[in-house]
Amino acid sequence: MNPASCGTPAANPWLAFPVQITGITDETPGVSTYELQLTDAEVARNYRFQPGQFNMLYLPGVGEAAISLSGQSESGDRLRHTVRLAGNVTHSLAGLGVGGRFGLRGPFGTPWPMEECRGRDVVAVAGGLGLAPLRPAIDAILNAPDEYGQLTILYGARTPEHLLFEQVYPDWRQNGAVVNVTVDRSLPGWQGHVGVVPLLVDRMQLPDPENTVFLICGPDVMMKYTVSSALNRGVPAERIWINMERNMNCAVGLCGHCQYGPEFICKDGPVLRYDRVQPMLRVEDL
């Protein structure tokens, strides 16, 4: 098949492209950001992704894991994935080190609704590692400040040690974003906010809720209560977008694993408009 069609539906969706690790940044305990270079020049030239999309990282002999893109290098030719050590794939990845080679399929899935955000205030709410899939959207907004309204970033982590991308918050603030951070559990010396992230939504400045877009990413329960806080503040359901996680196996809607009611999270999601999944969020074990 033609590598030029990588990531497009026309391609054989099972073909993985070779990548090499060009950099590893340790973020928080068990979480690192990998910078990857597509080694086939033509594939690299044609590869495009949108904020919120994910790749399947493929470690031959071990398996695949769906990992959201957390950004790209300034030069644009290197992809970033922020990965938490969880299962076999992520542990094997961690064992490779800079220079390590493996495979990648993608990009897959629906992006954050950047068009919808245009001209409106945007609130990005993240929990835990959920900040990683939001980062490309945050970067996109801060890179084009005239096109968007006020950006507010509300972020909750487990402890102060687990705050992801802490070193860039000052830049975000400098570029005009309001950044409010909270932790579930404090540690000695922590001067910041303690409490779960939906509380930040309850208290935030929300001058024009009707025209504010919420982008939410985190565990299901965290998103559910964040949504309910946003709705309480008068944000319309159709302006709230969540990023869901399910078992992604094929990533192209053919294997059935990631179904959530009528949605295939891999191709109809992971970014879904809240009113689409609202009835399902009430049902357990769906």
């Binding site: 929990g127 487990r158 579930d184 559990r185 922590w190 779960v196 939906p198 208290r203």
Partner: protein
């Protein structure tokens, strides 16, 4: 006579925003706006206290003392929140220590007077207690979410490579 500003502030806080005019006036009569600098202690865990607060701006940290661990931060209170309900819902002592984290503006209401107001006007009392229950319920849900420890590692230990 209440400061006119208190009326205005009470109208802006969700807790009291929808009170009927008469109740608002009654409440304002026992309320006072206070500005507290950062680092001030509003009340201490284990002590009785006379007031309940509605936060206008700023932030306050609630801490509990755990032997061996010292003071543990439980929750940060922000604008719009109700703080220090112990004297209203029970006659015992405060369950946490409250310290302002920055310059903070709040409405202070005398608990005894508030209870009296509720007692004398059951309709206003019902409304206020309903608001109190709603605030407590939100706090309880938030505490449960904290308990769930949603961002904890949930995967079993990986075997170390042989």
């Amino acid at each position: 006579m209440a400061q006119p500003d208190v009326m205005q502030r009470l109208r802006e806080i969700p807790f009291s925003a929808r009170l009927p005019e008469k109740a608002l006036t009654d409440l304002a009569a026992i309320a006072e706006i206070r500005s507290v600098p950062g680092g001030a202690r509003l009340f201490r865990e284990g002590e009785p206290h006379c007031c309940i607060y509605l936060l206008i701006s700023g932030s306050i940290v609630l801490e509990m003392h755990v032997p061996g661990r010292g003071k543990v931060q439980i929750l940060t209170i922000g604008p719009g929140d109700v703080l220090g309900w112990s004297p209203v819902v029970s006659d015992t002592v405060m369950t946490a220590t409250a310290t302002t984290l920055e310059d903070t503006e709040l409405i202070e209401i005398q608990a005894g007077a508030l209870l009296q107001l509720c007692e004398s006007d059951r309709e206003v009392g019902y409304f206020l207690m309903q608001q109190m229950a709603a605030a407590l319920s939100r706090r309880l849900v938030a505490t449960r979410l904290q308990l769930l420890d949603l961002f904890a590692e949930t995967t079993p230990q990986q075997p170390s490579p042989l």
